[in-house]
Amino acid sequence: MGLFDKIKKTFDRLSEGLTKTRDTFVSKLRAVLFAGRKIDAALLAEIEEILITSDVGVSTSEKLIERLKVRVRDEKLEDASVITEILKQEIQALLATSPSAANDATFGIDAANKPHVIMVIGVNGVGKTTTIGKLAHNYKAAGKKVLIGAADTFRAAANEQLEVWASRAGVDIIQQQQGADPAAVAYDTLKAAVSRGVDVVIIDTAGRLHNKQGLMQELEKIGRVMKKIKADVPNDIFLVLDATTGQNALQQAREFTKVAPITGLILTKLDGTAKGGAVLAIADALSMPVRYIGVGEKIDDLQVFSPSTFVEALFEERATVHESAS
């Protein structure tokens, strides 16, 4: 398969995954934007509604509208149909890009700096364990030797759940009994990884609400303890966000990054009816990039996030909207 085919395949699958997002978004826009309509306050209010109902949040929506207004004025725009184009540009400008975006797409790592350690964090029920299964599968498929550390020692049967995913992905797992110190599990995992010459280490952590101080400090400790073996780890800390989550997502990002500096977001459950607009609010306030998206429960339902593809897919049908409307 050529590179082009690969890119196309990724694009198609992302589009597929985003169909729901796009459908609702575009059908709403279709209703809002008919050619020939003038840009007025009512139109902007309708756009604001679309943004807010996608969980973008009031502040970020207002900010986007404000930029739209400025550009409408400066560029002397009159026809409403150009608004999607501008909105698209503004949203894309808002989305942060990760410095390691190139590696994300190929599941590559810095070969000179092994093992590459990924820690996965988030509140309860967002899909951390499932995401880890998918990540492991992808790294394995990219020819990497993967080791998973089961540092969710709290939740009932968390070990068993992760075990199933590890065996599906065909990778090894390090675990201890329920109730063990998660930092010790992470430490053991990294130690084993070094001695076994592992390429990628993925540490699962227990779901925790970000306002629980003790649990947040536990997370900090996991990172701290692993540094005793290798100073620059974890190389990536992924905060997993549920696309159905509303404005609390921003609070989650804010609090988690204090104890475990987040290098990227993974937005899960995008195959449902929720739009995941909260990542825009997070990008706006904290400039955190989205790295991957989860679009299903199967092991290959993880897609690389690319801001341009995301926005493109979001507005893909704009042309048809325009045509059918005129």
């Binding site: 949040g57 029920g125 009932a156 329920q178």
Partner: protein
């Protein structure tokens, strides 16, 4: 975590002061703030719209009288409206005329169904019932193990069957319950997306076959605008009898509760407030209304306190507070009482305005132990007369408690602050806060 809505409302309604009535002109700005607060709390866009229109209509012509501030009046009106919309508290499970009663639990992935099932079983067990948990989530890896482990921890039976379909499992579980005298069957189902037709059909079939007496829709309290779509889809398909709101121990303002209530009209029966099996509470409309408005959760706190604090002790304390005789001895007693009530941060977070005050503040739960050690290292005289605590005494206390002089200094400073705070609180404010007609807001304490 949020700037308090009451602060903003006071600001927006400043101009009304001195005017006799709330009018269309003077209320618009205030309502913009309310709208924003509700949207920030994740209440659905359309629900907010309708709510604001209703409040506006009701607020017009309200007379501003007495020493009430317009902002307080507005908050009270909004709060009351929210409470009314939220319905009444109904934390009961329908009872089958003939045992077993069947409860089915459904919702999206990761909403907390399995944990809720365990909590419900635990609370029913405490009431003397004989619950049977049924593991029908055959899809998520280890979901059955999870329920089994939870069941084991509560010494409750969990019915499961490898390789069987949910329908088969549930029906056999029913037979099991009848045979072994389990009077309530709680059926855990897999998480599913509303657009997954196959899975929605599966749970609909399960419902048709089991004819549950109670069908509970479990929803994550952090859910955003999509809550209405999801709740409606589940309700359309299953005619749910009640809603469970989970993860309310987080700092989400839980606007989803209002959205779900508005689109389904179904009662919210329980709220999940922690990961342990006893972390389940009935739903109280007033509390969630306060929370959505960012007013803290004073009622929950009061209730928790009531559970732990002996009436007589409370009276004694009040007396002391009035006379400003609060000592380290009382402080220690209070600490121990608070420790019984749960996490300090949770408790403080429930106080109006505290959410904001606590933003970014690190609360070290272990500090309790250190504080206790320090107070215990004081002599009786020192505890009752903190003024005695000079430099050399502080040094001795530090050495005795294994802390530093700085720690001791900090404690004494905190104690003095607390004394001041209590002095303020007792100046007629406590009474109205707990039993009065008018809610007290954090802003009022800043007024001269």
């Amino acid at each position: 975590m949020f700037e308090s809505l009451s602060d903003k409302l006071e600001e927006a309604l400043k101009r009304i002061r001195g005017q006799a009535k709330i009018t269309e002109e003077n209320v618009t700005e205030a309502l913009t703030e309310v709208r924003r607060a509700l949207l920030d709390a994740d209440v659905n866009f359309n629900v907010v719209k309708k709510f604001i229109d209703d409040v506006k209509e009701k607020s017009l012509g309200i007379e501003v009288k007495g020493n009430l501030l317009p902002g307080q009046l507005m908050i009270k009106l909004i709060h009351d409206e929210l409470v009314a919309l939220m319905g009444t508290s109904k934390a009961d499970i329908a009872q089958a005329p003939q045992a077993p009663t069947i409860v089915m639990v459904a919702g999206l992935q990761g909403s907390g169904k399995t944990t809720f099932c365990a909590k419900l079983a635990f609370s029913l067990k405490k009431k003397g019932r004989q619950p049977l948990l049924v593991a029908c989530d055959i899809y998520r890896p280890a979901a059955i193990d999870q329920l089994r482990t939870l069941g084991q921890s509560m010494s409750l039976p969990v019915f499961s069957k490898d390789g069987a379909k949910p329908l088969e499992i549930a029906n056999e579980a029913l037979q099991y319950a009848k045979k072994f005298g389990r009077d309530i069957v709680i059926v855990d189902t897999a998480g599913r997306l509303t657009i997954d037709e196959e899975m929605m059909q599966e749970v609909a079939d399960l419902k048709d076959s089991l004819k549950p007496h109670e069908i509970l829709f479990v929803c994550d309290a952090m859910t955003g605008q999509d809550a209405v779509n999801t709740a409606k889809a589940f309700d359309d398909r299953l005619s749910v009898t009640g809603v469970v709101l989970t993860k309310l121990d987080g700092d989400t303002r839980g606007g989803a509760a209002l959205s779900i209530r508005a689109v389904t009209g179904k009662p919210i029966k329980y709220v999940g407030i922690g990961e342990k099996v006893d972390a389940l509470e009935p739903f109280f409309p007033e509390r969630i209304a306060s929370r959505i408005l960012g007013m803290g959760d004073i009622l929950t706190l009061v209730e928790k306190a009531q559970q732990q604090i002996d009436e007589k002790d409370a009276e004694k304390l009040e007396e002391k507070l009035r006379k400003n005789q609060f000592t380290f001895e009382d402080f220690l007693e209070q600490l121990r009482m608070i420790k019984k009530m749960g996490s300090l941060r949770d408790l403080l977070g429930m106080l109006p305005g505290m959410d904001k005050a606590l933003r970014g503040v690190q609360i070290d739960e272990k500090a309790f132990a250190r504080v206790e050690a320090m107070v215990l290292s004081m002599t009786k005289e020192e505890r009752s007369q903190p003024k005695l605590l000079n430099g050399s005494r502080r040094k001795r206390i530090a050495a005795g408690s294994g802390t530093s002089v700085q720690d001791v200094n900090r404690l004494i400073k905190q104690f003095e602050d607390m004394q001041k705070m209590m002095k303020n609180m007792t100046k007629g404010k406590m009474a109205s806060m707990f039993g009065g007609q008018t809610p007290q807001f954090p802003t009022s304490s800043r007024r001269p």
